[in-house]
Symmetry: C2
Subunit: 229 residues, 2 copies
């Protein structure tokens, strides 16, 4: 039987790289989609390309997005990325790194591409446990997007329904790392930092770095991340 295709949203970070490995484990031919959206940390796109290459992604497209025209986020605008927050602060509120409607835009593109290439499975590495308080990382958002997607598309209305997979949604960062290591994900190739140094090294102090570092400690796995200084 011919293997089915899936579209995987691949940022080049730890979570999306693990999600890609899970989609492959689940038997799909992986098609990866990344976005250049004016993010400060565009070196994550280089990480996405490295990951796509070593994990034998069939096709990797990088979409140019115009989110800077919308503005409103520390990830795309001249707003400082918060540093050295503890875990409670990270979990407690929606931070300035929130990009309005980002995952909605990403999933909409993935949906369009999936329909064109005949894929009906879309993977996204959102996580509602060790997350940064973003509303579009919760399971109820994913479910609502799936319902909408099947009303929005030719395939959906004709009964060839789309599934949005969020396999990490209820996992801790440590569980995600252990899962990825069991699937041979090389986390040294991934990039998570929101505010990297000029050579791409991680700052070690933004929310994303703090959650990542703690994940490796909790998992009891050596952290391969290259930090600044």
């Amino acid at each position: 039987m011919k293997k089915k295709k899936a579209v995987i949203l691949l940022s080049g970070g730890l979570d999306s790289s693990t999600t890609l490995a899970i989609a492959i484990e689940e038997g799909f031919v992986p098609h990866a989609m990344s976005f250049r959206y004016g993010q400060r940390h565009s070196c994550e796109l280089e990480a996405a390309s490295r990951i796509a290459a070593v994990m034998n992604v069939r096709k990797h497209v990088v979409i140019d997005l115009d989110l800077r025209k919308i503005g409103g986020s520390a990830l795309t605008d001249n707003i400082d990325v918060p540093k050295n927050r503890d875990e409670a602060s990270i979990a407690g509120e929606i931070p300035v790194t929130y990009v309005p409607a980002r995952n909605t835009v990403f999933l909409s593109y993935a949906l369009g591409w999936a329909e064109v290439i005949g894929a009906h499975d879309i993977y996204i590495g959102v996580n509602a446990v060790d997350y940064s308080g973003y509303p579009d990382c919760r399971p109820e958002f994913i479910k609502a997007f799936e319902t909408m997607a099947n009303l929005a598309t030719k395939d959906g209305v004709e009964g060839r329904c789309f599934s949005i997979h969020a396999p990490l949604v209820n996992m801790t960062k440590a569980e995600i790392i252990r899962k990825g290591v069991s699937l041979d994900v090389d986390y040294a190739l991934t990039h998570s930092c929101y505010d990297p140094g000029p050579d791409g090294a991680a700052c070690g102090r933004c929310d994303s770095c703090i959650l990542r570092e703690k994940g490796f400690i909790d998992a009891g796995i050596k952290d391969p991340t290259r930090y600044c200084g």
Copy 2:
């Protein structure tokens, strides 16, 4: 009391221009959003700018989209636009001019912008009566998008809910034209054709031209459209 802002998706066509007039009639300060998405009929963007100017839109942003990388539509690819179809054929199937997930992508951007500027009302000129068979023009799609939007966003989860308005959804083309004329929309400034001539004149034979021309006849209103030849 300070007037509320609304985001209006403005293609520069007959439907979206009428929708803009309705949003203004309903008391909103209009903010218009258009997309350059590799469409064959990019002169509709010039129409959008003309309309935005004469209707005193507060701000008009044009977003560059990368839909050509996704492909799969006669509106963005080298696929022939169908011509001279009768109304029954137009209504009977999803045509090759369908752009996968287009309205989903458009509404996602509008949602992001709305949240940044503090608008909670988004207008889209979709129509499920005299329409071209696109699934993302139906009321059930609009409703599902709204539900998703309120789970996707900071404002939505904090109770400042978004409404997606589709005031034309159950109107015939003739009713839309009569409504627009009553609101002083100058349809000579609008552009609907999928496959215009080099000078921007309408072909008169694509689905969009056929539905538009019939609308003016049914409404008993003189058609100001400039046709080729």
